[in-house]
């Protein structure tokens, strides 16, 4: 049995699953999250309309209220926006983009952070010093500022007509590059501990290659904290994207995330068409909240220090 299998085994078979069932908040959060992820991933199948195919829109249907209000219709359960797009469908697609950006950004930070953390922790010396100093520098700038910076750089090197098409990846890059340090620090600390343990020393003596030791012995032991950090980081990443979009630096209105939907709806807040901004806002809060509740629970359950 490999270490990964051992880890998975521990993950399912241990008292973790039992704890999960005993925590109603975590179960509810996980259920909500599951529903939202399904809606987002299967948006093209589940959404009642295709809001971002301009050919299917009709300006006649614009600004309809939700179905239960006067003037609303069941065709558009949560109403429509100024372009005649179904709000429910825009939320599905918006969630898809918010989630995709969040997950991809966190994965990026994990890959960068874990790699640099392993290198720093394993090799130590000046390699460690350089990497950790880079981390210090990065930490002296808040996430938004770094995202803003990367956004600017990509604008600088990219021709105008490509900017819109590449927005999605730019936002991922901007958020992902801003948040690797915490992963690097955690993995580095764990690696340093594992490195000095007897089994690693034994493995080294038996001339197992460095790579193999790192991947089969050190890495799996750092996974727990990384998973916790990544789950909590997902909430932060989704929020950061929303803030960037709100400031006009994130996703464009042609492929809006939840944050971009709220930005557009913000201008309509006083006009009485509250549903255009409030439902995406609600969806965003619900999404981030369930991620955070789940992440919180995971931390409590996996962190032996708090047991």
């Amino acid at each position: 049995m490999t270490s990964v299998q051992i880890f998975l085994h521990r993950f399912y078979d241990s008292d973790l699953f039992w704890k999960f069932r005993k925590t109603p908040a975590a179960v509810i959060a996980a259920a909500v999250l599951l529903v939202m992820v399904v809606c987002a991933v299967a948006a093209p199948l589940l959404a009642p309309h295709t809001p971002f195919d301009p050919g299917t829109l009709n300006l006649m249907d614009s600004r309809l209220p939700p179905a239960w209000l006067e003037g609303g219709t069941i065709t558009y359960p949560l109403g429509t926006d100024e372009q005649g797009r179904d709000v429910l469908s825009t939320i599905f697609y918006g969630m898809r983009i918010s989630l995709a950006v969040g997950v991809a950004a966190v994965l990026l930070s994990v890959v960068i952070g874990v790699t640099l953390g392993l290198i720093a922790g394993w090799f130590g010396g000046w390699v460690d010093a350089v990497i950790m100093r880079m981390g210090d520098v990065q930490l002296s700038f808040p996430t938004i500022m770094i995202a803003f910076f990367i956004d600017g750089i990509t604008k600088a090197v990219m021709p105008t007509d490509l900017r819109e098409l590449t927005r999605f990846y730019v936002v991922i890059l901007a958020i992902g590059l801003a948040d690797w340090v915490q992963f690097a620090r955690t993995v580095r600390a764990a690696t340093m501990i594992e490195k000095n343990k007897d089994y690693t020393a034994a493995a080294r003596l038996s001339r197992v290659s460095t790579m193999r030791i790192v991947f089969t012995h050190v890495l799996p032991n750092t996974l727990g904290p990384v998973i916790i950090l990544a789950t909590l980081g997902l909430g932060v990443a989704i929020l950061t994207e929303a803030i960037l979009s709100f400031l006009g630096l994130g996703m464009p209105p042609t492929q809006p995330s939840l944050g971009a939907l709220i930005r557009v709806g913000n201008d309509l807040l006083l006009s009485g068409e509250w549903w255009i901004s409030m439902f995406p806002g609600l969806a965003l809060v619900l999404l981030v909240l369930s991620v955070n509740i789940f992440g919180d629970w995971l931390r409590d359950a996996l962190n032996p220090r708090l047991k």
Binding site: P54, T160, T254, L270, S271
Partner: protein, 524 residues
């Protein structure tokens, strides 16, 4: 914890409304941005001039009906084709008490007209200025020129002694601190004088009791606050913190009108909105087809016919626009109603035209759209994309910030773009034509890169600038308008409406050039 939070709120409620302390004759005014400085020569920036017209005055000015009337010049006469004599008004005092005379006019001409000043272009037709006596000056122009008075309405007179004493003898000196002096100081002859200014926070004007003209307004003070966020600005009006906002967003008008004690004053804007496009290039980048479809008049006409401008008016502008067929708004001088006939909205006909032009399957059209330059510009572009999709043209929307837009457009970076033009401060078709219709050259056509180009039209535009006879001008202007319309040089959308939100206490005028001429305002 909750108690400690609520306490200040309850306190705030108990002292009730904010306006209570403000004087009844104080007009509190909010706008989306602050003016760059109090220097009327620092930029040909209609936004700044639209406020500074209350502090400074030109030799002539626009009245409430946008007709020229004497201001610092009492009268003028045309001595020859190239010589204009102006008789200056006597007994006019600047705000600091200095007397206005010919030296100030000559100083202001050099300050604004010398090379390096942003106004050099406006005053370019002038060859020379001579002082006859303290209250008479003669302007010599380089060539016959029709619009001298129009241009003078946007060129304001400053006080020679004052400007020299504060070291701001030149506008726009970014290499030293000289521009900074004009950030918080102003000395004009206008109906209001500057009493306090914190850039980006607030600017306070007080009535000028020694104004030369008869006082029709009853304002004692104007407090101007920039509020960038649309929703916050409207909220400030609705909560009674400001009395007046210019350009209330169309979506909030119903709310403002539905609030007791609030109203919206509307007026037609001189600005018309249209799409300009690349008609010169041999290829259209990203179109996915050979050649440049926009070069073909059928394609341009098809696009024009595919746009449901009434639908845009209803859904996006909420009734606050007027579809137009030509670049001249109905309120613009020399407007020709006979030419203002749009191509019909006809998607099927448009599709047929497209097929006829050799594009039965359409093509991809990159549309560049400013986010925040014109009223609901982003939404209009998105709606356009939807309408184009119905005739088989796939729009590739590209939203850019106003500053990138203002950079990229004149540089010719965009192939299909939204633009609006009002012809300010000249208020004459010549201004519109020379900037957006004339083929691009060193001096003209700066906002028509790669765009519409017709040698006959170019020739007419030059003549329109020189001709002073009204009938002849009308004839030439109509020809330019008709030619461009028939060749679909621009795809016209609509004329914007001015929608100014205010409390019932305020009586304002809403002129088509968007200037706030506070000397016509009263408050109950």
């Amino acid at each position: 914890m909750i108690r400690s939070l609520l306490k200040p709120l309850i306190l705030a409620a108990s002292i009730a409304a904010f306006g209570a302390t403000a004087d009844a004759k104080t007009l509190r005014f909010a706008e989306s941005q602050d003016i760059a400085s109090m220097d009327p020569h620092a930029g040909r920036d209609d936004f700044a001039l639209s406020l500074l017209c209350n502090v400074y005055e030109g030799l002539v000015r626009w009245n409430a009906d946008l007709k020229l009337e004497p201001a610092l010049a009492e009268s003028w006469e045309i001595i020859s084709d190239t010589e204009w004599k102006f008789n200056l008004r006597k007994n006019v005092k600047f705000h600091n008490g200095n007397t206005f005379n010919a030296d100030d006019v000559i100083f202001s001409y050099h300050r604004a007209g010398d090379p390096g000043s942003p106004f050099a272009g406006l005053l370019e037709p002038i060859a020379e200025i001579t002082k006859v006596d303290d209250y008479t000056v003669i302007f010599k122009v380089k060539r016959k020129y029709a619009l001298l008075l129009n241009d003078f309405a946007g060129w304001y007179i400053m006080d020679k002694e004052f400007q020299e004493s504060i070291g701001a003898g030149k506008p726009l000196d970014l290499s030293s601190n000289a521009g900074g002096a004009m950030q918080t100081q102003a000395n004009g002859t206008g109906p209001f004088k500057l009493v306090e200014r914190q850039p980006d926070v607030k600017t306070v004007l007080a009535v000028n009791p020694d104004w030369w003209d008869e006082r029709k307004h009853n304002l004692d003070e104007i407090v101007y606050t920039p509020i960038a966020n649309n929703a916050t600005r409207v909220a400030a009006l609705l909560s009674g913190e400001v009395d007046f906002i210019r350009n209330a967003p169309p979506q909030d008008l119903a709310r403002i009108e539905g609030t007791s004690g609030m109203k919206v004053m509307r007026g037609p804007h001189l600005r018309t909105i249209f799409y300009g496009m690349n008609q010169q290039g041999d290829t259209l980048k990203g179109s996915g087809v050979e050649g440049n479809p926009l070069k073909k008049v059928e394609v341009r006409k098809a696009i024009a016919m595919s746009i449901d401008v009434e639908g845009i008016k209803r859904s996006i502008m909420r009734g606050n626009s007027n579809p137009v067929a030509t670049q001249l708004a109905p309120q613009m001088p020399y407007y020709d109603a006979a030419l203002d006939v749009r191509f019909p909205y006809d998607p099927d006909g448009a599709k047929a035209l497209l097929t006829q032009a050799g594009y039965p399957d359409g093509f991809t059209l990159p549309i560049t759209c400013p986010a925040g330059s014109f009223i609901n510009d982003e939404q209009i572009c998105q709606a356009t994309a939807g309408m184009l999709a119905k005739i088989g043209i796939k729009a590739q929307l590209n939203m850019v910030t106003p500053v990138q837009y203002d950079t990229g457009l004149p540089a010719g970076e965009f192939d299909f773009y939204m633009l609006g033009w009002a012809g300010l401060p000249t208020i004459d078709p010549y201004n519109i034509f020379s900037a957006t219709v004339h083929s691009p050259t060193e001096k003209l056509g700066a906002w028509n890169p790669k765009g519409y180009s017709n040698a006959r039209v170019d020739e007419l535009i030059i003549k329109i600038g020189e001709e002073t006879d009204q009938a002849k001008r009308q004839e030439m202007i109509s020809e330019v308008v008709k030619t461009q319309r028939d060749e679909v040089g621009k795809i016209m959308l609509h004329q914007q409406f001015l929608t100014w939100g205010m409390t019932d206490k305020v009586n304002a005028i809403v002129p088509g050039d968007e200037y706030t001429r506070f000397w016509y305002y009263t408050m109950n």
